[in-house]
Symmetry: C3
Subunit: 139 residues, 3 copies
């Protein structure tokens, strides 16, 4: 069985979404299985057209607007979140959507990018993945 990394993305901050996907892609590139479990504000990022949204990002506090962040990322050769997500899926990464968060926040399947979501699931699925993982992170 492959080694595994299981990441909870709880935060809605843009920089945290970058960290989750960069770590996920790094682990996939090194032959590990990876699941990212999107909960609470993290799940908001899986709404249609929300992945790249700069709103509410802590990065803005530093006077870096969404436009500037993207420009800096591009200049540094860092891919956009959409590109990172595409790579993540191509490398076989799994996207798990927390159905309890959907209930609490009144999010419907139609609101979400169903095409990128591997599975809608609850905490039991997360625990099952995490207990078999070499790397577990809460972001």
């Amino acid at each position: 069985m492959s080694e595994k990394a299981t990441i909870i993305l709880h935060s809605g901050d843009m920089d945290k979404a970058y960290s989750a996907l960069i770590i996920g892609n790094g682990a996939l590139a090194m032959g590990m299985d990876v699941s990212i479990f999107f909960t609470f504000w993290g799940l908001e990022r899986l709404k249609k057209n929300k992945l790249e949204s700069g709103a509410l990002s802590k990065m803005n506090l530093f006077g870096l607007g969404k436009w500037l962040i993207k420009r800096k990322m591009k200049k540094s050769g860092v891919a956009s979140l959409n590109k990172l997500l595409d790579n993540y899926l191509e490398l076989g990464g799994k996207i798990l959507a927390c159905d309890m968060t959907m209930d609490i926040m009144g999010i419907d399947k139609e609101d979400l990018r169903d095409d990128v979501i591997t599975e809608y699931c609850a905490v039991g699925t997360y625990v099952q993945e995490a207990r078999e993982s070499e790397v577990t992170l809460f972001i």
Copy 2:
């Protein structure tokens, strides 16, 4: 020996307290041993009558007041934090209180819900639990 999950709850945010207890209960339900180590702002939640307090929660930033969060949680069939904590203790989960945080923040035992705390301890106890754990999270 049972598999184990060891969680540090550092944040005082209500949504993070939910995450810690929901993951903890999920792991207990699947036969794992679980310890939650309450430090810094997390320990504030173990003060008498503070577990359900909505103050300072990031959730409020989204225009969801304490009352609204609780109503949404209830409507979604999600238990209150007090109920989740009761279940956690019934299932054998351990609550560890960071004694260094008590020193720094001037918190006395009388301020805390001593009835739910399994042990007052320091980082050595945490490391000992964490190194034997399949799942380690910092929330």
Copy 3:
């Protein structure tokens, strides 16, 4: 091979820097190998004269100024961040600096405390360390 703890310090909050170093020192004292990988706002703390800086710390929200935090820490017998870092290095802890963060944020080597940095590296180095670790945390 020794047991290992690998910590990502993503946050720039002073309290989170304390947590990373206290856990790191605790694990080192118990014979584990420890690496702390400084990324995003965490890397800002490795700039010259920035480790003890109280700016932007969430602690300030609670009405505790930088001066007050340090006084409380001292009174409680808790070492300063600089002292904790010295101990961490003496005990053999590794400091990894994220070179992608340097690119994005325009941070040069001259801006950083090169004397304490074990290695400048990317996500691959992190994954390699983390997959061999008993304890993995994202702070």
